[in-house]
């Protein structure tokens, strides 16, 4: 079974690096979608099935915290697993992300190994 991913980050370089990392793993990668902010991410999620979301926090238009708040209120999308990849270091915000059921929090800079490990954990359920 191939898994679809959504990469949400305002940095094209970060999205490219994530795309490359995922494509080089043993994971069965299906479609790789991209979004520059939370609002674009919702547009993607409304039009296609996504198994795992990679999410940055500090983004324009709709940031990662706002996105998570809305995602968990959405009846159709609220169970979608999310892996946060961010520079955010505040305990208060990380605790809020825990409450919003973020499955994994990775602090930038993040290694390809950590990406693979987190995806594997999330897909195992």
């Amino acid at each position: 079974m191939a898994y679809n991913f959504l990469l949400v980050d305002d940095s094209k370089v970060v999205r490219k690096a994530l795309r490359k990392t995922l494509s080089m793993t043993d994971l069965e990668v299906g479609e790789l979608h991209e979004a520059e902010n939370g609002l674009q991410a919702f547009e993607v999620l409304r039009s296609t099935w996504v198994d795992v979301i990679f999410l940055d926090i500090n983004m324009p238009v709709m940031n990662g915290m706002e996105f998570m708040e809305q995602l968990r209120l959405d009846e159709e999308l609220k169970e979608t697993p999310v892996i946060v990849v961010s520079t955010e270091g505040s305990k208060e915000r990380r605790e809020r992300l825990d409450e919003l059921r973020v499955r994994v929090y990775l602090r930038k800079p993040v290694s390809p190994e950590a990406i693979v490990e987190s995806v594997t954990d999330v897909l195992k359920g």
């Binding site: 940095s11 490359k20 500090n58 520079t87 955010e88 270091g89 505040s90 208060e92 990380r94 930038k108």
Partner: protein, 157 residues
Amino acid sequence: MLNVESFKDTLTQVTARVLEDWAMMLVEPADSVPEIFGDNDRCFCSSIRYRGVFNGVYSIVCPPGFLEVLASNVLGSEDEIEDDDRLDALREMANVLCGNLLTEMYGEDPVFDVVMPRIRELPSSEIGEFFSERTICFLADDEPIAITYSMEASDAD
């Protein structure tokens, strides 16, 4: 509040760690003088602001050669690197550096809002104006970079 020397030590450690871990660059300290930029007739400057217990700005100045290495290392040299990628890599570097530095300096309790990094081209004639006592320089894979920072206590403190 940390003194300038202590802050410089932390900035040096965090910068080296971020560039080595994220961009696989070999980083070494360099003299903090404009001359390290040599014959480069232009550079790029990425500035990032943060607000919280302290407010401040970090600015990074680097030549095109540094951007080339940075983008190639982050994306893989076999990929086609576009102009946007080079500047985007610098923007992301400022973002990652600022986030890690704030945690290293102030711990995990304070909440900071980080404003999106801005990038501008810096003619060689203006590089000298960038330097102050709060400037630290490095050679990363033999390419020069300079970081200048400012910080002040917030009124909200």
